[in-house]
């Protein structure tokens, strides 16, 4: 399983790179943000917080870079990402853990939905060209050019303020205590429709276009002509032969654009004050909460890597050529 092995190595290297970037960035930044921060809080920061900052930024004059790095990894494996200022003294890890499920659910549902819908539409307009469906393309061009968050703003304006169908913000009804009971789940779903819908609408265009182009390319492959020559039913040729092959680059594209979708969703959470990681990141940037920002970067990156691995598994299942023993 050469393919799988290579991908595993790639993910390990990427994870290492993300952690190292996270370690390096605060240390190579010009100026001294920590000192500025400490000055700004004028002694209101507890010693714990200052210590956490010093560890994060490597301002401990006694430690060498190498020992700091080792120390950093050590704390990482212990799940210690430092303390958040914004939610002081809550550890960063706890803040993220609390908000992560919201983001994972939102991103997961929205991106899979957008992928499925977009790919299906792409199959349709790529298979039979020269029909009215081609008119969808310019519309998608416009939608893909709109920033996610602005579409979110418009959605809120139209569907939450002007016609108050959906709630303007939040992840659930303020009067409810989070938990796994029907009323709360219903409320959470209700609150997620607008943000998820907006993510779907703004990201679906790329899938439509990509799949349409791949369908056009794959349709001229010999095996599609053979399938038609065999007199197979139209659906079988369209899905089993053309779309089945055209979807492969879509799946690898899905893996690669996850980072982009996640970024968009984070901003969407900021717009909707959705209780996910994005909203926390928004609060962290507002309060210059560096430990929290960095923790979020790290966790989000690792989450994207895990999602990538899942997409790879899907790819291996879909393309027998990758399963070839080398």
């Amino acid at each position: 399983m050469r393919f799988v092995l290579r991908r595993c190595i790639f993910y390990l290297v990427t994870a290492w790179a993300a952690v190292t970037v996270n370690f390096v960035i605060p240390r190579v930044m010009p100026g001294d943000p920590v000192q500025a921060l400490i000055n700004r809080y004028q002694g209101q920061l507890s010693t714990d917080a200052v210590e956490s900052l010093y560890a994060l930024f490597g301002l401990d004059p006694d430690a060498s870079i190498w020992s700091q790095y080792v120390d950093y990894w050590g704390r990482l494996f212990a799940g210690d990402l430092g303390l958040s200022f914004t939610f002081f003294p809550t550890p960063v890890a706890d803040v993220i853990l609390q908000s992560l499920p919201w983001t994972v659910a939102l991103v997961g549902v929205a991106s899979v939905l957008s992928f499925a819908v977009g790919t299906l539409i792409g199959v349709m307009i790529g298979w039979r060209r020269g029909t009215w469906a081609d008119g969808i393309l310019p519309v998608t061009a416009f939608l893909s050019a709109v920033p996610y968050f602005w579409l979110g703003l418009i959605a809120i304006m139209l569907l939450a303020v002007t016609w108050p169908v959906f709630p303007t913000s939040g992840g659930y009804d303020g009067g409810l205590v989070p938990g796994l009971y029907p009323e709360f789940i219903g409320s959470a779903l209700w609150h997620s429709i607008l943000p998820a819908g907006t993510v779907v609408i703004s990201s679906v265009a790329g899938w439509i276009l990509g799949m349409r182009n791949m369908m056009v390319t794959v349709s001229s492959e010999d095996y599609v002509t053979v399938a038609q020559a065999k007199g197979l039913p139209e659906r079988q040729v369209m899905f089993g032969y053309a779309a089945r092959n055209a979807v492969l680059p879509q799946v690898s594209g899905f893996a690669l654009s996850l980072g982009f979708i996640v970024s968009g969703t984070l901003v969407m959470e900021m717009v909707f004050s959705y209780p996910g990681v994005g909203f926390v990141l928004y609060q962290a940037t507002g309060g210059q909460d560096y430990p929290l920002m960095q923790g979020i970067f790290l966790i989000i990156t690792l989450a994207v890597l895990v999602a990538n691995m899942l997409a790879d598994v899907a790819y291996v299942l879909l393309d027998p050529r990758t399963r070839q023993e080398a």
Partner: protein
Amino acid sequence: MTPEPVLEIRDLAVDYGYGASPVHALRGVSLTLHKGEVLGIAGESGCGKSTLVYAATRLLPPPGVIVGGEVRFHGDDGPVDILRMTDQELRAARWQDTAIVFQGAMNSLNPVYRVGRQLTDAIAAHRPGSSRAEREERARELLTMVGIAPERIRAFPHQLSGGMRQRVMIAMAMALEPKVLILDEPTTALDVVMQRQILEQVMELRDRLGFSVVFITHDVSLLIEVADHIAIMYAGEIVEQARASEVYRQPRHPYSHGLLHSFPPLHGPRRPLAGIPGSPPDLQALPSGCPFSPRCPEAMDVCTDVHPDLGPTAAAEPGRRVACLLHTEGRTLPASLSV
């Protein structure tokens, strides 16, 4: 006894492009394939030989458009015009009536499906009553028939060699025991030994199952060995039609003559090889008169003005037609084209 026709192509005309000035890729081509016969179609690349069979099966991809003619298939219920069939009729007729083995052995198989699935799906589509086990059994049988171990039913196309893939395609084409098998340069991507084996296999199957074959290739000497009749195409038209042995012994069209002498003969005495000077014409800017006239060693003044129609040869040999002004009455054939 006159053999019964299976496939009659009449005046087939094909354009490429939908715009104001499409390329006329086929201009009134007529051909008849008889039961049990092997019909060869030869010509340089771009002469329209593949276009002909793809158009006759309605498989020609865009921007090809059929702009005239008819393709009559003589099935059990009498002749039907393929060009007037609805999509459903066409779909139902395909592979039962006419099966095709395509040029690219590498790309004819769907890379993500196992060979077995691709062998059985045509059976499933046309014989909805068959059981899964029956179809699978048939697939094994078909593979055995072309000399591939039946276990290979579980293989993916990328696990097979080029020659094996082409055999699988032939097995696939045999799945519904079609009346006509079209081979579109089935062996170009393969080495000579493999070519030979595969062709022998097809001919052996034909002897056993009795289907008719349309065999397209640019290799005339190969055609002469396997075909009963040969049609030679140039720039979207048929320029000569005759029995294979006749073409080999005595080509009547200067182009056939040139083509024949561009390949070493497989049997018989050696003869000097000579290519055809020049290159195939641009279909967008065909010369006036005979399309071959600019390259023709025997061209006369009249050739650039008058378009020759396919008609009897100067010697009026039965069953033989040629499109060359040299064969009009009162002209003397050059030595190379007369006996």
